[in-house]
């Protein structure tokens, strides 16, 4: 899967789990805690949906908010898991 498709699908998930975030206005590289209010619970909800969408598995330590700075980082780890 192309990285652009991963990002697009990831943002669909983000919009579903975090209705206040408008997918088409998201800066993928921005701090997602500062700019979009991502917290531990919302990140875990996004990851659980991403596991289903991309058929990948995150281990328990990869659920930690401090592992990521931005949605770009989440897309990167999904891309890595799809290889």
């Amino acid at each position: 899967m192309e990285k652009s498709e991963i990002k697009e699908k990831l943002l669909e998930i983000v919009e579903e789990e975090m209705p206040d975030v408008e997918a088409d206005k998201v800066d993928m590289g921005a701090s997602f805690t500062d700019e979009y209010g991502v917290d531990s619970v919302s990140l875990i909800k996004v990851i659980v949906d991403a596991e289903k969408t991309f058929d990948v598995k995150f281990d328990d330590k990869e659920l930690a908010l401090n592992k990521y700075h931005s949605f770009e980082d989440v897309a990167d780890i999904i891309e890595e898991k799809l290889k």
Binding site: D39, S40, I44, K45, I47, V48, L63, A64
Partner: protein, 348 residues
């Protein structure tokens, strides 16, 4: 009276309970206060208690000192002001809070936060502690720290009107901050920083003794006799790990599973603070610098965070069977925690 005044706060290193989040918001960055903070908050304890909001039994886990920490900390001046005093001095709670902030005082107490969350009248009350550290007269809002308004501890604003309604809605018996210790009292705490002088030296002996008590699961009530010790069924130190796992197993296997993460979260915060303590002790040459030890303890923090996040994940997915992995993470953390702290106690 200024149009806007905001007292300094720093997002707290630990957020488990409002009393800790408040103390660390005010003092977390103060070099004098660090000597007291790192000498304390070493022992863990837990006990069963009926939650005041639901009446259901929960496992209340906390560090020592717990909810009385702000009274005991030498770097805070903690004053109880009763509702009749507030009304006599100012007539109005909003005016009282604004004047208190103008005088450099933070405000802390129980408010009916159901009145703050809903724009319409609701027929239930939710008494919760609110920490107020600023105001804006133009926007008619207070700056507050709390867990209620977002999914995590956060700094946000609440209107004057909602704070007034939230304060006035609670009776003395509904004020859970005061009704246990000062029955029949309704009021607020005013908190002032007392950090200009050094009132407390880092207590190396206390740290060593309390780490050993933590490792042995020693009943520390005897050691902290000056604190209120109302609970007989208290579990201490590393035995708290077992109590938490037992409770999580029970709550996950109830007919309607419960996903209360608070006990795991305080155990995680305990490790976060312990890692900060180790760094502080090394930076101040109380124990020798040891990067390998810091890296190893960072692993303890990571394991406890994985356990907490896994419980959050289970609450989202309903995969109850994944609960066995919580025990694996917690037991891994416990083994490393014990091994490292034994070394630290020997070095002190």
């Amino acid at each position: 009276m200024a149009n806007k005044a905001v007292l300094p706060v720093k997002y707290p290193a630990i957020t488990s309970w409002q009393w800790h989040a408040t103390l660390f918001s005010i003092l977390g960055d103060d070099e004098n206060a660090k000597r007291w903070i790192y000498s304390n908050y070493i022992q863990l304890r837990c006990y069963n208690i009926d939650e005041y909001t639901t009446g259901e039994e929960i496992l209340l886990c906390d560090m020592m000192p717990g909810s009385s920490a702000m009274k005991e900390c030498p770097y805070l001046i903690f004053s109880l002001i009763t509702k009749p005093q507030i009304e006599a001095y100012c007539g109005d709670v909003v005016d009282f809070i604004v004047k208190t902030i103008d005088l450099g005082g933070y405000v802390y107490g129980a408010f009916d936060e159901a009145r703050m969350l809903c724009d319409v009248k609701v027929d239930y009350k939710f008494s919760h502690e609110l920490f107020i550290y600023g105001y804006n007269m133009d926007e008619e809002v207070f700056y507050v720290g709390d867990f209620t308004f977002k999914d995590k501890y956060s700094y946000t604003t609440v209107s004057f009107d909602k704070v007034k309604k939230g304060f006035e809605a609670l009776t003395a018996t509904e004020d859970h901050v005061f009704n246990t210790d000062y029955k029949g009292t309704r009021g607020l705490y005013v908190i002032q920083k007392n950090t200009e002088n050094r009132y407390y030296e880092l207590d190396k002996d206390l740290i060593k003794r309390t780490i050993n008590e933590y490792l042995e699961g020693f009943d520390t009530k005897d050691h902290f006799r000056m604190m209120r010790n109302r609970f007989d069924d208290t579990v201490f130190g590393v035995n708290v790990y077992d109590a938490i796992l037992e409770r999580i197993d029970k709550q996950l296997h109830e007919e309607e599973p419960d996903f209360d993460i608070r006990a795991l979260h305080i155990a995680y915060d305990h490790k976060v603070l312990m890692l900060d303590r180790l760094k502080y002790l090394m930076a101040n040459e109380v124990i020798p610098f040891d990067q390998a030890m810091l890296d190893e303890y960072a692993g303890v923090v990571e394991d406890m965070l994985a356990a907490r996040n896994l419980l959050v994940r289970i609450s989202v997915t309903g995969e109850i069977e994944a609960g066995t992995r919580i025990a694996e993470h917690v037991n891994t953390a416990r083994a490393k925690d014990v091994a490292i702290l034994k070394k630290v106690a020997d070095l002190l």
